[in-house]
């Protein structure tokens, strides 16, 4: 009995090695051919032989224009988000900062100690107001649009279009789906890699998920896009320039996903990509109510809530740092000037780096932290509009186009937030991979921004 069994297994292994490499594909192909020939014999369609689904699929998964169409679709979504978020964002900011004003006056009238009142209103509350007014409108537009695509059944087509690219870099085609999840939240994207069966390819997907900007980073990208890239073009092209900048940042992120996947599958995670069957499920008429529910309750509100309770303590922390003085300088000034040289090397400044350290728990609060750090307690700037923000960043803090480019790159490439790091640890069960998932992106971010800043300055010096 024993030898018979060994013979079976050994023969199977030997035969497998003799089989052509693509025998699995060939098996799948012969099944498809059979299915097609049976269908041709027994199915008779009156009128249109091609269903509308097949017609659509022929266009959106076309080898030539499938990918450009996808990028175009993404651009349209960004554009709608950027244009649409502007007005509600300003309205919200006006209302929320009026409340800050009114609240601090009320506290003054009630004789609440000024330090406490300042801490609560100009520290904690301002952080909250910023997060809400900057993040809520884009999320409320972006997520329903994205959920709509998801509900339609477009995402498997995305995976289909990008499969060959992933195969080339030694990764799994389903990584496209986990990346799509990462656009919402990288922690969710890391969990979503469970759909990838092979542990090697799953690790690649986990370690590179961070390179797609999650929603916590959208506001920063959208804001910088509108603020810096829009201002260098004529007014009528502003929203297009902003869209282009955001899209560019995303494309850089995706390019790094492929680059790092390729690097990983040739160094730490060597191996061949495994084959898989990806069926394009039928398109579904999206249920509008469910789309609204999922995008508002499941995504927007939950994520906003997370941002709020992470931003409140950080707002407080920054306020304390800005108001505790050692000698004649506040702690913020001391820390940021200490980080300044490093920040300058990569096109940023010390305050931005400090904000990134404070924002490790949640990327959402980078911008509010930077603003709170700049304005502190001494210079009260009412940031009611993008124009005021531009004034603060460009005129008072000397931000340039390079700062914006570097910050967008850094935002897309830097280390994941602490939630995502924890999720990587839990999903891989290994501290080593959690550390790789943290420091590899960080190194990539520093190297890239350093290169960009150096080249930019060299070119600037030459011109």
């Amino acid at each position: 009995m024993k030898s018979e069994i060994r013979e079976i297994l050994e023969t199977a292994d030997a035969l497998r090695r003799q089989l052509p490499e693509d025998f699995r594909d060939r098996l799948v192909e012969s099944i498809y051919t059979e299915a097609e020939s049976i269908t041709q014999k027994v199915v008779h369609v009156e009128g249109d032989p091609l269903s509308w689904e097949e017609r659509i699929d022929r266009i959106v998964t076309h080898p030539l224009w499938g990918l450009p169409l996808m990028v175009l679709g993404l651009a349209v979504i960004f554009w709608i988000t950027i244009v649409g978020a502007n007005y509600p964002s300003e309205l919200l900011a006006t209302i929320l900062f009026a409340i800050e004003d009114w609240g601090s006056k009320l506290f003054a009238a009630l004789h609440v100690p000024a330090t406490l009142s300042n801490f609560l209103w100009h520290g904690v509350y301002r952080g909250l107001a910023w997060v809400v007014s900057v993040m809520l409108p884009p999320m409320a537009i972006f997520f329903p649009l994205f959920t709509l695509l998801e509900d339609l059944g477009y995402l498997p087509r995305v995976a289909f279009n990008m499969d060959w690219l992933f195969k080339k870099v030694g990764a799994h085609g389903k990584q496209a789906l986990t990346m799509a999840m990462g656009f919402g939240c990288n922690a969710a994207g890391v969990v979503a890699t469970r759909i990838i069966e092979s542990p090697r390819e799953r690790l690649i997907a986990i370690l590179t998920n961070n390179f797609v900007p999650c929603n916590g980073r959208w506001p920063l990208l959208i804001m910088l896009g509108s603020l810096f890239f829009a201002s260098v073009v004529p007014p009528q092209y502003r929203s297009l320039a902003a869209t282009g900048a955001v899209l560019g940042a995303v494309i850089v992120g995706v390019a790094f996903t492929f680059l790092v996947s390729w690097f990983l599958s040739r160094t730490m995670l060597r191996g061949e990509p495994s084959a898989f069957t990806l069926e394009l499920p039928p398109y579904r008429r999206p249920s509008v109510l469910r789309v609204l529910y999922t995008s508002f309750i499941e995504r927007t509100v939950k994520i906003l809530w997370r941002a709020v309770y992470m931003a409140a303590p950080s707002g407080g922390l920054i306020w304390i740092l800005a108001n505790v003085h050692v000698g004649s300088h506040s702690l913020v000034q001391i820390l940021s000037s200490w980080l300044d040289p490093l920040g300058h090397l990569i096109g940023l400044d010390g305050m931005i780096l400090l904000a990134y350290i404070v924002a490790i728990p949640a990327n959402e609060i980078v911008i509010p932290t930077i603003i709170m750090g700049y304005t502190g307690a001494s210079t009260m700037v009412e940031l009611e509009s993008l124009e005021a923000l531009r004034h603060l960043l460009v005129d008072q803090q000397d931000w340039t186009l390079l700062t914006a480019v570097s910050l967008m790159l850094f935002s897309v490439l830097h280390n994941p937030c602490s939630t995502t790091i924890l999720t990587i640890w839990k999903e891989t069960g290994s501290k080593k991979w959690a550390a790789v998932g943290t420091f590899l992106p960080l190194a990539v971010a520093f190297a890239t921004t350093f290169l960009v800043a150096t080249i930019w300055r060299l070119l600037g010096g030459l011109l």
Binding site: T11, L19, P20, F23, L27, V28, E34, I38, K41, V43
Partner: protein, 258 residues
């Protein structure tokens, strides 16, 4: 108005465990329900079992397992709803579960639910199931929608092509379910003979299968679905490998239910 309650209202409740927890050995036949997602498989499952359902998880998996019972022609049937899959060839949890149940669960019959409006896509899975077991009845579902869309399926022709009975159904309205069950009964009791269609293999693969099949049959005489098992071994399927190593396949060979 006076309320008259029975001795225990629980006992008359249709959800009382007596009704829906299926005890070991309570049924005469086990029937598996397979099919692509979105074919109306769950609707059919509910239509056949009503409230006599039990929902849990597949052992060690995060995939929902639903089973239910029904009586037909004086026999008791257990119906196991397999995860909806498009194929049985990949290593996804769902496909592994469906694959393993079809091989090791040894159901007396398999109902494959097919979407009449998307026959070609559905045939993919059906052809693979036919490689595993000959005791298959196809429920050609969503016939009403196919008609509405101007899709006409030659049911007899399909049955001839596949070599197994095909019953048109509309699970939502219950249309065709009686004939479906009669057919299932016929297949189980041997009144209806099936001759499942084989997938023509690539010559290289066919040769490899031909080498492996006699070896497997030598170790496990009378093993059903031996061609499929050979294919899985060539693919390196770990659960089949394990079954060969531990001799679990021998149980199937002797026809003992697991």
């Amino acid at each position: 108005m006076k309320l008259r309650l029975p001795k225990s209202s629980c006992e008359t409740c249709p959800l009382y465990p007596r009704e829906w927890i299926l005890e070991e050995g309570k049924w005469d036949y086990v029937v598996a329900l397979a099919g692509n997602p979105n074919t109306g498989k769950s609707t059919l499952f509910n239509a056949l079992t009503g409230l006599r359902q039990h929902v849990g998880n597949w052992p060690g998996k995060t995939v929902t397992r639903a089973e239910g019972g029904f009586s037909f022609g004086g026999k008791k049937y257990k119906l196991v709803d397999l995860p909806g899959t498009y194929s049985l060839l990949t290593m996804s949890q769902e496909e592994e579960i469906a694959r393993d149940f079809l091989i090791f669960g040894q159901p007396d019959a398999v109902i494959v639910v097919m979407d009449a409006t998307a026959l070609e896509r559905n045939l993919n899975l059906t052809l693979q199931i036919l490689e595993i077991t000959p005791r298959v009845v196809v429920a050609l579902n969503l016939m009403d929608e196919a008609r509405r869309r101007g899709i006409r399926v030659n049911v007899r022709g399909l049955s001839r092509e596949l070599g197994v009975p095909v019953v048109p159904t509309v699970a939502r309205t219950g249309q065709g379910l009686r004939r479906l069950l009669e057919t299932v009964e016929g297949v189980i009791e041997g009144r209806i003979e099936t001759k499942p269609r084989r997938i023509p293999l690539d010559p290289d693969l066919e040769r490899a299968v031909q080498v492996l099949v006699p070896l497997i049959l030598k170790a496990f005489p009378g093993l059903p679905s031996v061609r499929w098992i050979a294919l899985r071994l060539l693919d390196g399927d770990p659960s089949i490998r394990k079954a060969v190593e531990t001799g679990d396949l021998a149980k199937l060979a002797r026809g003992v239910k697991s």
